[in-house]
């Protein structure tokens, strides 16, 4: 038991280390990761400003920060195993004693650390441009942020497992689901509760996405000083989503790994 735990932790650490090292060792990554979240949040902030609604520019900046992490989940978690399969690393994972779940958790932690500078730059540049006023309840902001990331990356693990079953469709799927999830989860505007343009049924559907719950709680805690007592339900849902998605991701991975072994398609490459 002790040996297994030790192996799991070491595997997770080493996968996280590779991701952190590859990003911080190549600073160009920072510029690459910054492009989409920074420019799209600036565009949305300018859209708010152009309609005389400068007080909401902060919504766009917070959206840009979370978009950096969501982009990382989509492109560096969900489709990672697919790319690992293409270049032959996935085979090495399979024959090594390292538990796949540990690799996924390590990849998540490494991804969060690697994306943090880009997200911080979006915040700094956004606030420098628009001088948005905030009224944060820091403990609530911190808890919301941590739980949103936990649930997002748990969703990334689940998607990563599902994408193992796909080939190059994974890339097209990523392209297809990215924007609809941005839209439904209200990255730049409230998609649930007060101010949402969505009918109730659509709000319920949007609430199944962890980013929706996280963005709602972040806006409340960053701009309206809502403390834990005001957003406890969001925090509870995010914690539950993290646990459920982590469990589903692990199960899906095992099922698809077994199916792939049986059918001999686990390490089939496309090209």
């Amino acid at each position: 038991m002790q040996a297994n735990l030790n192996l799991w932790l070491r595997s997770a650490y080493s996968r996280a280390w590779v991701r952190v090292k590859s990003t911080y060792g190549e600073p160009v990554w920072l510029a690459v990761n910054l492009a989409v979240p920074l420019l799209s949040s600036l565009a949305m902030a300018l859209l708010y400003q152009s309609t005389g609604l400068s007080k909401y520019t902060g919504f766009a900046i917070v959206g840009g920060i979370m978009l950096a992490f969501w982009g990382n989940v989509l492109w560096s978690m969900a489709s990672q195993f697919n790319w690992d399969k293409e270049v032959g690393i996935f085979e090495i994972y399979l024959i090594s004693p390292a538990p796949i779940s540990a690799l996924l958790v390590g990849m998540s932690l490494g991804g969060i650390l690697a994306t943090a500078p880009s997200a911080a730059l979006v915040a700094l540049i956004g606030w420098a441009f628009f001088s948005t006023s905030i009224s944060p309840s820091w403990l609530a902001v911190f808890l919301t942020f941590i739980l949103t990331l936990a649930s997002l990356y748990a969703m990334g693990m689940l998607l990563s497992s599902l994408y193992l079953a796909y080939g190059r469709e994974a890339e097209s799927l990523n392209n297809a689901i990215g924007e609809p999830i941005n839209f439904l989860s209200g990255i730049y505007f409230p998609s649930i509760g007060t101010g949402s343009p969505f009918p109730f049924a659509l709000q319920i559907a949007a609430s199944l996405i962890p980013l929706t719950i996280g963005m709602d709680a972040l806006r409340k805690s960053v701009f309206y000083a809502d403390g834990i007592s005001a957003i406890w339900l969001n925090l509870l849902i995010l914690a539950a989503m993290s646990a459920i998605l982590l469990f589903l991701g692990d199960k899906a991975l095992k099922v698809l790994e077994n199916r792939g072994r049986r059918e001999g398609t686990l390490v089939v490459r496309l090209r």
Partner: protein, 279 residues
């Protein structure tokens, strides 16, 4: 004649690559979902802010819906040439195209034409879906004039924007020849900057001076203006003026692009980079 054949072959290949990797209907659906969601996202941002401030107008909603829909077309032009070169280097196709008698200029032209052909329906579909979704979500449809004339005028604007698209394609293609890593970085920035500077979502006049001058110099800004003149304002004079600037700007960008691409290829050949693999 040989040039036409080369362009057609490249366009056919581009179409196969973009649309025929699965059922074309499914492929079109997948290509349409993201831009439509992006259009609705921008419209929702406007609706949310303006409703609270009591400043909502269907005209302004139409301005955003038309601009954001067309941006899908403009944004696609930033990625296609990069994909053509970087994937071509990875699969060894680009060096082979390079040594053919017509070489790579018609190849990139064909790939951009294919991108035009597959993203034009995406613009039409996302515009139509956004129109009805805006009505359902915001209770007010954008004031878009859907007449035979307005559709023909918008189609003409899209066609006249082709030289500009090709010019941008050649400029980004010349960058792609030299990079073997992070090949998506520059197109991502170009695409994002076009969202800000091409008046896709808001007039450039809100940007601090001298940034609006960048917007004035971009042919894609005039694509937006010409299309809005046709689809929203029904203004023939704005349409013709914008079309003139679009054609002129596109021609200049095309010439700059071809010169840059030729020089880049010569330089890459001298440095032995034509067949350097993308990692």
């Amino acid at each position: 004649m040989r040039l036409h054949k080369a362009i057609f072959a490249a366009a056919w290949m581009g179409w196969q690559r973009e649309m025929e990797w699965t059922n074309p209907a499914l492929s079109l659906f997948i290509k349409t979902v993201a831009p439509t969601a992006a259009v609705l996202g921008a419209a929702a941002v406007y609706w949310f802010g303006s409703s609270f401030a009591g400043l909502f107008t269907p005209d302004r909603l139409a301005y955003i819906v038309v601009g954001a829909s067309l941006y899908a077309q403009v944004g696609a032009y930033a990625y296609v040439p990069t994909a053509a070169i970087s994937e071509g280097k990875w699969s060894n196709l680009y060096p082979q195209v390079y040594i053919t008698p017509t070489s790579s200029i018609p190849y990139l032209a064909g790939r951009c034409l294919a991108s035009f052909a597959d993203s034009a329906p995406v613009v039409a579909i996302s515009l139509a879906v956004s129109y009805y979704a805006s009505y359902a979500l915001f209770g007010s449809p954008p004031t878009i004039l859907l007449t035979v004339n307005s559709v023909l005028m918008t189609t003409a604007a899209l066609v006249v924007s082709l030289p500009a698209a090709l010019g941008l394609g050649y400029i980004l293609g010349s960058y792609s020849i030299f990079v073997s890593r992070f090949e998506w970085a520059l197109p991502s920035y170009v695409s994002g900057l076009l969202m800000i500077f091409s008046e896709a979502l808001f007039p450039a006049s809100i940007l601090p001076y001298p940034l609006p001058l960048i917007a004035q110099a971009l042919p894609f800004t005039y694509l937006m203006r010409a299309s809005r003149a046709a689809l929203i304002y029904d203004s023939w004079s704005t349409f013709t003026t914008s079309m003139g600037y679009l054609a002129l700007g596109g021609l200049i960008l095309l010439i700059i692009g071809i010169v840059a691409f030729n020089q880049a290829e010569r330089s890459a050949r001298d440095k032995g980079l034509i067949d350097k693999k993308v990692m």
